[in-house]
Symmetry: C2
Subunit: 240 residues, 2 copies
Amino acid sequence: MALQPVARRSVPDEVFDQILDDVVSGEFTPGEALPSERRLAEVLGVSRPAVREALQRVAQAGLVEVRQGDSTTVRDYRRHASLDLLPRLLLPRGELDPSVARSILEARLLIGPRVARLAAERAGARLEARLLTAVAAIEADPDPVARQRHALVFWDHIVDGADSIVFRLMFNSLRAAYEPALGALATLMANEVDQVDVYRALAGRITGGDADGADRAAHDLLAPATDALLTAIRQLEELP
Amino acid sequence: MALQPVARRSVPDEVFDQILDDVVSGEFTPGEALPSERRLAEVLGVSRPAVREALQRVAQAGLVEVRQGDSTTVRDYRRHASLDLLPRLLLPRGELDPSVARSILEARLLIGPRVARLAAERAGARLEARLLTAVAAIEADPDPVARQRHALVFWDHIVDGADSIVFRLMFNSLRAAYEPALGALATLMANEVDQVDVYRALAGRITGGDADGADRAAHDLLAPATDALLTAIRQLEELP
DNA sequence: CAAAATCGACTGGTATGACCACTTGACCTC
DNA sequence: GAGGTCAAGTGGTCATACCAGTCGATTTTG
């Protein structure tokens, strides 16, 4: 039995999670007023500063609007939240949401090849050592979850090489969504992280400055998982 | 002289802005320890809860790491921040950062056509009324800044129709970056928002369910601004 | 009677002070 | 050198008091 570090959760963190989950789950609907800070503190059995801290963070996440003198109201997170919300949407109650997973894989399939292309154009040979190290780490590790981690490192280098702050920050958010879901996604991703030769080919295209080749190789690497998930979703929908 | 509403800024907001700017500008470097909450409160002449609230928000934004018992340390925002940071990077000190603008336009050019394609496939005729209303609003408004706002509404509908939570949340973040920069970008975007016929054609392709046509029309609409900016950046780099 | 002003209740915003929980480095013991 | 203890400093939490703003009900004014 592997002992895990015990992460102590702060009071505002707990409050933040509760409010966030209630907004995302629809318990609180857009336009609705939340209970006052004082009331929430009473109901939750915590201090008002803790509630306040949590609420300011929920506001920063785009899920509520706080105005002095008036109740805090709920916003439509689909219109106001950022990609930071993705982890909550991907794993509500610890189970994978198929439409969110689909959406992530679709975006990945669009962005990955473009990022690979930009890395080939803008970084090329400078990425060689880091990419080959990451490929070797993928190859050396038999565990599919750990392979996914190494693959994220591989893509981290590529995104760096793409020299685009937007894709860099997007990657951060997508990785943050992905990491808690590595286990749930392991079956879907196993084929992908087993194709070490494709990773190596992609690395070669990028470091060789072959933008078209990199684009195609990234697509070849990423497409199967998206296809597999779409197929699985379709089969689920065909069940009676 | 137009009188503007005075937005009262809260103390934690001011503190948050200062710390964020100092991290993004490099005043505080990754790994470095920030002054303690008590010290910051003293130096800034505010209460410790205000500092604490601001710091927890800076931590949520991915720019610092807060651990009980130890100093708060600065993280590399390029590795840990999300797209929420984009407004700060696009307009540091009120002036457009060309490489960030380029990065945004590149991403837009990649994602826009795909989102248009998905909207054509998944929403089609259901978007007609809203898209035509937005096109009419663009056409009816002579002011280029206001036209950009209407264009954002136009794209908001398309992103809704794409039925992808990832692209939906991405759009929120990109819009948040874009909105404060509407004025600065007006010259670059003027040609684009003047092409009402192209907006109308794109709306037609989407509502007609023509995915390929929508993809192409979106590309035709979005590409010129990216090209113009790349040209302008190249010319800037060629100056002695 | 309608518009404007006032008022009270409630909301969020801010500060002070006290105390708790944790980390880290210095120092001591074996 | 390894392990334990301690003190100082860090962040975490709470209670209390008061300030600033919003909104609806009520009153006043024209």
